[in-house]
Subunit: 698 residues, 2 copies
Amino acid sequence: MTPNPPWVQALKPAGPQGHELLQLERDKSSVPVAKLSEFLFTKEAIERKRRVLKVLESEKVFNKNQNYFAGRVDRFETALARAKRLRQLKVQHGWNQEDSIVANDLISEPGPYGLHESMFLITLRDQGTPEQHELFLKKAENYQIIGCYAQTELGHGSNVRGLETTATWSPEDKTFIIHSPHLTASKWWIGSLGRTANYAVVMAQLIIDGKPYGPHPFVVQVRNLKTHEPLENVHVGDIGPKFGYNTMDNGFLLFNHVKIPHVNMLARFSSVDLSTNKYVRPMSASLVYGTLTWVRSHIVLQSGSVLARGVTMATRYCAIRRQFQDRDAPQSEKGETAVLNYTMVQVRLLPLLAATFALHFTGQGMMRFYAESQKKIHGNANTASADRGAGPEETHAGSDSLADLHAASCGLKSLASSIAAEGLEVCRRACGGHGYSSFSGIGPWYADYLPTTTWEGDNYMLSQQVARYLLKSARSVKKGEKPTNDTTQILTEFLARSDMGAAFDIIGKDEDLVAAFAWRTAYLTFEAYKHRDEEKKAWNDLLVDFYRLSKAHSQYLVVKNFYEALQSPSTTDVLNEETRTVLHKLFRLFALNTLEQESSEFYQSGATTVRQIILARTNTVMKLLKEIRPHAVRLVDSWDFPDWQLDSSLGRYDGKVYEDLFHRASELNPLNAITVDPYPESSVLFKNDKSRDFKSKL
Amino acid sequence: MTPNPPWVQALKPAGPQGHELLQLERDKSSVPVAKLSEFLFTKEAIERKRRVLKVLESEKVFNKNQNYFAGRVDRFETALARAKRLRQLKVQHGWNQEDSIVANDLISEPGPYGLHESMFLITLRDQGTPEQHELFLKKAENYQIIGCYAQTELGHGSNVRGLETTATWSPEDKTFIIHSPHLTASKWWIGSLGRTANYAVVMAQLIIDGKPYGPHPFVVQVRNLKTHEPLENVHVGDIGPKFGYNTMDNGFLLFNHVKIPHVNMLARFSSVDLSTNKYVRPMSASLVYGTLTWVRSHIVLQSGSVLARGVTMATRYCAIRRQFQDRDAPQSEKGETAVLNYTMVQVRLLPLLAATFALHFTGQGMMRFYAESQKKIHGNANTASADRGAGPEETHAGSDSLADLHAASCGLKSLASSIAAEGLEVCRRACGGHGYSSFSGIGPWYADYLPTTTWEGDNYMLSQQVARYLLKSARSVKKGEKPTNDTTQILTEFLARSDMGAAFDIIGKDEDLVAAFAWRTAYLTFEAYKHRDEEKKAWNDLLVDFYRLSKAHSQYLVVKNFYEALQSPSTTDVLNEETRTVLHKLFRLFALNTLEQESSEFYQSGATTVRQIILARTNTVMKLLKEIRPHAVRLVDSWDFPDWQLDSSLGRYDGKVYEDLFHRASELNPLNAITVDPYPESSVLFKNDKSRDFKSKL
């Protein structure tokens, strides 16, 4: 760190200072920030965050100063040090699972123990027998072995059945032979495998007596527990740099006829019988099904806060950044205007601010829905945590509600992660030139988040599952079967009015606004039904329609969840009038702005009049932007991100944007330690480090 | 480089090999690739590329092997070495300006001489007097001084008038005092300044006798020519890492009352009179105006090829990548399907493929339009290079055509760079998981391109200039003035039919398709006119409408340029029937797909029927995708990107996707040289490099 010269230290930003400008913003609104935060996250969660943050801030290894500067090897090294220290802290402070999650959120970078602590432990726990728990899980929980979950291959992503790695049962010596028959069989993208793990749960095609039984999980040691060198006939390493996620060592893995004992096949659901050498059939797959649904619902819940980080940074900065005078402003107001006052900035940022709440409430709704359906399946109350949150109690009928939940989790995972990823990029660009600096904090966060649009079901692929479910529902409704859940309900209502059409007052009535989204979903569902079932169009020719259908259905679910959350007693009893009014405006902004962006489908379905959509855009939305604008900073404050977590010059709570940008650039930047020889004919590159000589590069 | 073990070296990808799959693709079409390339770029340009490529490939310093792995300091160091070597090669081979541009395109990374070789030289040349040319330009051309162009400040981007840096005329000693009054006055984002430049053209507010005269250019030395250390009272350095562009040393710069001589104010257009100490008024600003128009038109031309790189990589990879079986495929076709066969992939990639051609022809049209208007302004034929290319000759009436050109360049810069930037991200995601690897080549290219959406006029800001021009045109048409260019022509035609409405057959007739875009522009123009001139709405309340208007107008221009290029004799005489048929399908795909995405505006303007838009999407576009699909690989081949330029595992001409991914990951990846100690209680991080000890990090 090189301090700036005294005459530079004496300089301040021109005009009103950042902290003054943010104070002005906070004075414009009286939304009770702390109260709203508690409503969103619970008081306990906020206290937990403060407590864990205090510990992390005091540890040098978690200092983020060099995060944006360091290259891959250094970043990985620091991430490893952090992972180790975090594990030590957990033991030392007796942190539970929730504390650990909060710590990871605050650190905000994927770490080398990431897959060990999630999928490796979960898979051992869920799919292992008691004997296997003793053998593997205990050691894994004590970090005596470090593992990962090796499913995806170089040539195979979403299609698990296409995996090439084989596990061939050898009855002579009662072992499995794990083998990679081709280069494309190489495991690929496997988190924590590249450099860190010495064990892997490997998904491989089970083969008994020449017959394939599909992919199954096998526990395979890949590195020596002492030397950490790869075992014989195992080729393993890191797959190289990525667009983001570079603190994680995603790895590759190839096997050359590697033998593992019988006990290494995870045998809770299916196995090979030792005496008969026969395959033992699996139990129902509903448990795995449930896990995936939980994972996707969790992505929906996270998406709100993922996006909120970007919106927080952009909103605070746009309240400070001033550019040009308002053309129509009176001569007396001579200064430049905060860019947040420009409607073109508002129309980009404020609907995203609305989306953060929409997604948060939807995610909470999904988690509640999941808990309820688990309760029904398992027939006991233990699994259903009585989540605090918005939304009226609903009743769901058994398996129908499970299928509904599954489809909703697929569609919403796709929609929510797309909104968050694309929204973050909108936030970055709304920050103008400085959004491109790593110090903005938005770019690195966006880059790390992007894989969420691909993993746990590619966002495009997933839409087919939603369409399949809606087609099934349409068939049942067409047959005259009674509605059993919300989806069949809205389809039935649509069909009942097919001779009458609709007349939703989307601007005048909130219920009509929600109903218009339901109508569009139903319209598109029956269009798809007509194409597929009546006109017998090829599945592949309908993928674009299916994607639109899935998006429409998921948008309906978000609008509905947002609306219901605002009606719920848990909301109306807790929040004051002003807060509820602002949240209601956010609901309307989110719904009407979404409707306007998808207006052609609303026209075509006859859900709305052309006139109301034009008015919604030119009138209602513009008015809502103006009304929400004064609350923007307080609303992002209520997301309660500590500066330490954001690690952003632009998004600082105190508004010291320019001071922080300058400090990081001039005082923390390692590139400024080198002195260049700039002349083309000189072979010296860095005057103060002659080891980097030009000639050696030729 | 660590070679793979022999058993790994023996492995091949499963199933048909990449080169076989691409050969099958190339066999499906007979579009003459070389012929089409020559048509797009000219034979000379292609030969030039081959010649320069040969030189670069043979130089070790340009080897790209480590580009994706290296950290910031190492990347900058290599970029500096490359910049120096490139300069040496230029001298050695006598390369002209065009050769140099091609070399930079092939190297494809911003370099430390970037701003010296562009804005520094251009500004000295254009704005300097002969005396100043002698003093500064000559030295700069010989690389005895290395410069940059310092305009943007920490607190000031697009609004040049808001710059804070001052240049105060001191009549006593006939000097200017350059000063940064606040922290926000720090120059920021200045390319080549961070570490490389020793001179800068500084834009500063000229102050004479206490009176401000606006921003003017001053030549200021910032570093010692021998030691390269900053001069006294100059604080200069690199601004730190960015989302991309990290081979460039964007810099900051602060002055503490630095004196420079009178001759350092670039004085071709305005100056301070040495004897009277008075300001000498500037000449017309039309020249600068012209330069910006040229720069923007060039961005439009580039955008086609920028996007084409991503489309090339994604198209080739999607032809090789296979996933799932087609649900409706007969049992006999057992294998997985190339993802390019999925309509959901086609509908994302093929309209972008169409856009590459649309933007290329539009860019060529803009460059021709620019040359013509320069010819008119300067009244001689020298400046108008007789560009080969598509499009009929048009006549433009003097200043009207200049204003039209200016507006078109603003709108098209905004639209084209947005299409290219967003399109690249679509290409990256179309590659699924592997798109996230740096080896895909798309992510790094996207990250480097992104600033184009902000510089040379922020894409949102620029739309106001287009709207201003269209409003002015509407006023003239409303007054009954005769149309003087295409814009006033389409407005006049719209007005003439305002009592009749329109009936464009967008599916049946190409001319109607173009006319529907013109109609929508005119409709939105008069809507804006009504809001602003009649209803007196505030400018700020109309920014969203203006942005839509600008987009609509620019989309019309792209559709029109594409259409005219296909009609031009220079196209019809050169290309064979099959090629013209395919290009015509691409035109229709681009136009109809764009129309469908913006359908609500087409409905509202009454340009089209709802029925035709539905049919366009569900029928025409889907059919076009099918028809274009077999030509996709040959079409991207015609963009003629050498593998060396693409530096992409996924986009290789020979289809060796998996071999290349594996080679880079396992054999070139420096992270695989470290051996981790994975246990949390151990303080060792890397077993083979104990200097990186955990304890030192605590």
